[in-house]
Each structure stands twice: as structure tokens, then as C-alpha cells.
């Protein structure tokens, strides 16, 4: 398998150093990396799962809106960034592994390197209770 573009590799290196959950996807939406804090949300370890297609990871953390309605994968910021190649942001609820609902904000950005190719996107999850 050919190696990822350097900007994707360096994104992983950054994610590896952060204490907030970070998800990195390729241009097709396949989740190609998530860091240790993100493993707590997904309840899975990257070393065990490896890359996951969007249909698998998009529903793993049970995203819901303010009214308790499920949010489909295509409305998640990361998926919108993949589709539109622009930053996206959304605040919503997820259900942690222990069943506790947590209100989070997600910001995703496109990853476009020096070759000017769209290499994928990364998203940071922010627990709103932490800043509250």
C-alpha cells in the first residue's frame, strides 16, 4: 500500500500529541486514524480496527441533535468537509460508552497540502462540559 501524503502523516503526528479527540479521514471518508482520546469515544482502538469506512464509524458514537433525533452521517462536520472541501462546525450530543450523553462541538478542516491535492480532513471533538 502506498504511503499517505506527507500532510496526512504530519496530521497524525499532531493528533498523536493532543489530548482532545482527533479523527482523520481520507477523501473517500474512510477513517484512517484516530488518537487515543478518540478511542475512548469510539470504544475501539485504532491498532485493533485499522481504517474504517464511513458507514461503520459514522454511527459509532450515536450522534443526536438537541431534540434527541439521530444525526445521519452525511450531516456530520467531517463528512460535510469531505463533500464540500471546506471547514465545518456543529454542536450536538453523543453517547459515551458508559451511556452518558455529552454535548460536544466538532470542528473539521480540509487537509490540502503543497501539492494542492485534497488529501482528506481532520476533526477535533470538544467536550462542552469541560469549558463550561
Amino acid at each position: 500500500m502506498p504511503a499517505h501524503e506527507i500532510e496526512i502523516i504530519l496530521s497524525r503526528q499532531l493528533a498523536d500529541c493532543l489530548t482532545v479527540p482527533v479523527f482523520i479521514v481520507d477523501p473517500e471518508g474512510t477513517l484512517i486514524f484516530y488518537n487515543e482520546p478518540a478511542e475512548e469515544i469510539l470504544g475501539k482502538k485504532f491498532q485493533e480496527t485499522g481504517p474504517m469506512p464511513i458507514g461503520d464509524w459514522g454511527t459509532l458514537f450515536f450522534p443526536q441533535d438537541e431534540d434527541g433525533n439521530d444525526i445521519p452521517p452525511e450531516e456530520l462536520p467531517l463528512v460535510q468537509t469531505i463533500q464540500n472541501k471546506v471547514p465545518a462546525h456543529k454542536t450536538f450530543w453523543i453517547k459515551a460508552l458508559n451511556g452518558k450523553a455529552t454535548k460536544i462541538s466538532v470542528t473539521s478542516i480540509p487537509i490540502i497540502g503543497r501539492s494542492k491535492n485534497f488529501s482528506g480532513a481532520m476533526a477535533i471533538f470538544w467536550d462542552n462540559e469541560v469549558i463550561g
Binding site: A3, L10, R114
Partner: protein, 277 residues
């Protein structure tokens, strides 16, 4: 195919008597196949090339990994640039809002240099490296961005069945003791994979590296791990730190070799050496 090492030093050239074993000139190699030659990087090592006897043809190709001074310093004094009968093709990384020509012109113009790039008398062609494989004569060349501050590429140069990978300035993993476990997450992997000769950055000892994280260079340990991971067949440790005497460098290398047991040859690059690939 043959590789000639004209400059193996990193950072800055040195004329110290303590640095004559591995040489004092900064990065420059020639890749040679019969009468065909390409020059890779234009550190002060390029000044050691005998252009009168080795470059009878009009055309000269110079590939640049990046524009840090130790890789371009010799360009200003490279004789073919001042010969109107020569056609000099300079290939280097794009990836910046400014063109390669504009960036080179910052160095090759007053006040840093008396002559502006536009006034250089040779037929100069400055080309930003394509993201696809390209050819120069019988050389098939791939360039990819690698982990080093600023736009920096490494090269994979193939001729016939033989391949040389050249990554003189490369920090494949930043601040970690080992590469990521998956091959597709290793910077430069495609370039070095199964190459017959890997010329790779190895500026620091493992201990020194811990104080130089993010500076864009590798330890001996990471260079060897990278070679092993990419299944390259021969590792040439390159980009020697001029702050080390050659005796210190030799000692560092011997200490390293006592600790490891790789199944490929590992050598320190020596200025002036020719390596048959």
C-alpha cells in the same frame, strides 16, 4: 549506475582538519549512468565537479531537494551557470505561494550575490517538480514531499533495474523513538521502498536528537530503522553534523553499530567516494 558523493556534510561547510575524513562540503551527489549524469543538490560539494571533462554535452540537470542554504550554496559559483553555451535545468520543489524562481532569486541576487538570476548567462530553465514521475535521459525520477521544515522533497532515481533513494534531510517521525507501525504512515516510504541504495539523513545520535526535535533531521537509529522498514538494501548515512569532529562521528557510528544487528550494510558517507549500485 554509479553515485558519486561530492558533499556529505549538513548545515554548513567546514574546512577544519577535524572534518577531512568524511569531507567538509555540503550536500551534493552525482548519479551517473554511462555518459548520462544528474546532479542532486547544490551544496558546496557541487564545486568539486569537473564540468570540463564530465559534462561535454550542453545540458546539465540539477535537482534540488529544498532551498536550505547547505543545499544551494554552491549554485552561485557553479561554472556552467556562467557559460552561455550551457543549458542548465534546475528542478526543485514548488509548494509555496512564491515560484521556485522567485525563491532562488532571493539568494542569487544582490545584496547576497552580485548577479541577479535573470542576468546569469547560461540558458537557465527552472522547473517546479511535478508530482508525477518524470524522466531525464534514462533516469526515471520520482519526487515526493517529505517531513522537513519548508517545502522539501526526497528523490527516487531509477535506471534500468537499479534504484537510488536520496533523502538527505528527513525527520520521518517527530519526537518519537520509533516510526509508526504501519508502512503507509511513514514519510518517504514510497521513495525508499526496496531501493538498492538509500542515502539518508543521520545528523544526530539518539541522545542528541531529543534536544533537536522538529529540526528536520534524523538520528542514526531512525535512519537505520527507516532503511529496515522500507527494505532498502544498503544504507549510506549522510548529512554529517559539522559540529562533530570526524573522530566523534566515527565513535558515534561505532557505538551505534555495536547495539544493532541489521541485515544490510550501513556506512558513513565519505566525500569523494563512488558507489556502484
Amino acid at each position: 549506475m554509479k553515485v558519486k558523493l561530492h558533499g556529505t556534510r549538513g548545515a554548513y561547510p567546514t574546512s577544519s582538519t577535524n572534518n577531512q575524513t568524511y569531507g567538509g562540503n555540503t550536500s551534493c551527489i552525482e548519479v551517473i549512468n554511462g555518459k548520462e549524469r544528474i546532479i542532486v543538490d547544490a551544496g558546496t560539494g557541487i564545486l568539486g565537479i569537473d564540468f570540463n571533462t564530465s559534462y561535454k554535452s550542453e545540458r546539465i540537470d540539477i535537482l534540488l531537494t529544498h532551498l536550505h542554504m547547505d543545499h544551494i550554496q554552491g549554485l552561485a559559483f557553479c561554472k556552467p551557470l556562467f557559460n552561455p553555451n550551457k543549458e542548465v535545468h534546475i528542478w526543485g520543489p514548488g509548494g509555496s505561494p512564491e515560484s521556485l524562481q522567485t525563491r532562488l532569486n532571493r539568494f542569487l541576487s544582490p545584496p547576497l550575490f552580485p548577479i541577479a538570476l535573470r542576468d546569469i548567462p547560461s540558458k537557465l530553465s527552472i522547473q517546479e517538480l511535478p508530482s508525477t514521475t518524470f524522466t531525464i535521459g534514462n533516469f526515471v525520477i520520482s519526487a515526493e514531499y517529505i517531513s522537513h521544515p519548508g517545502p522539501t522533497v526526497g528523490f527516487r532515481i531509477q535506471c534500468g533495474s537499479k534504484t537510488v533513494a536520496y533523502l538527505p534531510d528527513h525527520e520521518p517521525v517527530i519526537g518519537k523513538a520509533h516510526l509508526f507501525p504501519e508502512d503507509d504512515w511513514v514519510s518517504g516510504f514510497n521513495l525508499a521502498y526496496q531501493s538498492d541504495l538509500l542515502i539518508h539523513d543521520s545528523q544526530y545520535s539518539k541522545k542528541e536528537y531529543m534536544n533537536k526535535v522538529g529540526w528536520g533531521h534524523s538520528s542514526l537509529d531512525i535512519a537505520a530503522e527507516f532503511c529496515s522498514r522500507t527494505k532498502a538494501k544498503h544504507l549510506l548515512l549522510f548529512h554529517h553534523d559539522p559540529a562533530h569532529s570526524d573522530d566523534e562521528r566515527t565513535q558515534m557510528f561505532e557505538n551505534f553499530m555495536r547495539k544493532v544487528n541489521y541485515d544490510f550494510p550501513i556506512e558513513l558517507a565519505v566525500q569523494g567516494d563512488e558507489i556502484e549500485v
